[in-house]
Symmetry: C2
């Protein structure tokens, strides 16, 4: 029979198919990425000046920005509604000068430069007193919400409000800490390392698991083994290790699942009052291939059905030969 599993962080229940689960191979789908270099805006010399540039990584302002820092942030009422002009910053991180679509095919050195760039941009944006949260994320492939350009890139958004899921995670981690006086994420790491059922890969500093109450097939989390609430500060000294584990998991997706679309999101702490949650929040990265459509009731209720248990996807990903 299937199981109901509760995410220990946000309290969300997922139905996880077990006995009648689909097989991992059922999710492998042929992929077609257009990589026509002639039309790639990130290969061509552009007039838009870069915001930051180092080690082949270039940060540019989005040429179709949905956020704007030119006016100060101000919330106002509109009857019973709250509204503000869409204050903030929206940057594109062009991860390589070469026309390479998938981050999995960048060198570990190049991936390291990308993560260092996120950290530096976060350090800059957090000086802006209007900014509450900084999102660094990647959409790879059309099914992941990306335009089909075929040049590896990611995005950084600095926003003046706290996103809902971030707030949920912080509240959940705080409740756990209040009771146990321990970090929930550290306890998850201990339990997962002991059982090994959901461990996909690890190195000295990072652990990759498929979470117990996975929402999506092949959902994975990269967890730093050392406790730190903040990505930008927490990766210091661990950049090589993080780049290596990211390349490892992205190669497992690419080889094992036939180059699927995927997203990753860095889940770091809010910008303000870091001392208030430094003991109980623990930064991490969610990495999710986009293999299924989310149906209506999942979107409407926050109640998910995962058609394959995470123990099965972890075993599948562990077996992928990334050195082939």
């Amino acid at each position: 029979m299937s199981q109901l599993r509760k995410d220990p962080i946000v309290g969300r229940w997922t139905i996880v198919a077990t006995e009648r689960a689909r097989r991992p191979a059922a999710f492998v789908d042929p992929k077609s990425t257009v990589t026509d270099q002639k039309e790639c805006p990130y290969c061509q010399d552009t007039n838009s000046p870069s915001v930051y540039e180092a080690h082949g990584v270039k940060v540019i302002n989005s040429n179709d920005p949905i956020l704007d820092e030119s006016k100060p942030f101000e919330r106002r009422g509109h009857g019973l509604y709250d509204v503000a002009h869409s204050y903030g910053s929206h940057e594109i991180v062009v991860e390589t000068p070469e026309h390479i679509p998938n981050m999995a095919d960048l060198s570990s050195e190049q991936i390291k430069a990308v993560f260092q760039t996120y950290a530096l941009r976060m350090q800059t944006h957090r000086k802006n007193p209007f900014i509450e949260y900084i999102l660094a994320y990647k959409n790879y492939g059309v099914a992941a919400g990306s335009r089909n350009i075929g040049h590896s890139r990611s995005q950084i958004m600095a926003v003046p409000v706290l996103p809902m899921r971030v707030q949920d995670k912080i509240s959940g981690a705080e409740k756990y800490f209040d009771y146990h006086e321990r970090c929930l994420f550290c306890d998850i790491i201990t339990q997962e390392l002991k059982s090994k059922d959901r461990v996909v890969a690890q190195n000295e500093h990072f652990l990759v698991i498929t979470p117990f109450a996975s929402r999506f097939p092949f959902e994975t989390w990269i967890l730093p083994k050392h406790h730190h609430c903040d990505f930008a500060e927490g990766i210091k000294g661990y950049e090589d290790s993080l780049a290596a584990i990211m390349k490892d998991i992205l190669l497992r997706f690419k080889i094992g699942l036939n180059d699927p679309a995927y997203n990753y999101m860095i889940q770091t702490s809010p910008v303000k009052n870091p001392s208030s949650f430094k003991d109980y929040y623990h930064w991490h990265i969610e990495v999710m291939p986009r293999l299924t459509r989310v149906a209506g009731f999942e979107r409407g209720t926050g109640f998910y059905i995962c058609p394959i248990p995470p123990e099965m996807t972890a075993a599948f990903l562990r077996e992928v030969d990334i050195h082939a």
Copy 2:
């Protein structure tokens, strides 16, 4: 410039594109629904007995159930995790004996029979002491998470836990009530009827709006004008009106947006302790065409970008000639 808008119920912020918004016509996409009657399992005589049958509507147990009522519900710990066998009931509502794909093409009488069926099944399931919530919803079209069978149907799930978004809505409505001593949804109805900017359609008993902080293009809510927390009790005497407004909005989608995939979810109150939230919760239906892919950071953070303002989608839907 774009706007940041806050959903007054759950507190979720959405970026709503305004000046640089996409035009409504950009979302109109040709549609291909396979409606091969020979392979339709809902047209053929089936050995699975119906759970309920009346007015051409037939409720059957899912032949691929992900929930099961045969063992009592029991939660248990698994280290720090919570798990339970996937207790509950999963039913398919076959809405018509005819092979008609889209509910928009059913008669109002037939749609009324579908909603009455939901109400009756909810009344039955809520007698089960393990059940906390009953979800009635529809996935229409492959992009909405449905198999491509082409026979109008919907689903009812009775689950032993409270879905996360339901809890969020209840908490938000409770906070508003604690402060104002009024129902938040009733206040939304008053404000929307006054401004008319986001009104798509209405009749004596129901109002259809595009919500102020829409997450998705053409997202709509059907709100009963009379306050009631519970769908099954609240529709009594208003069934004809509800069927008429549902057919109205589904025809606007079908004609205006070229037969898009869509979902609807009935957002009713939890099964237990209805007296605790009867003053502040207000049942409603979310109806959402599936026109765009949700990108990574939206899925990971609960922070949405809506590429077109709801005032523009409401105006577009108002103009659709459903009697053409």
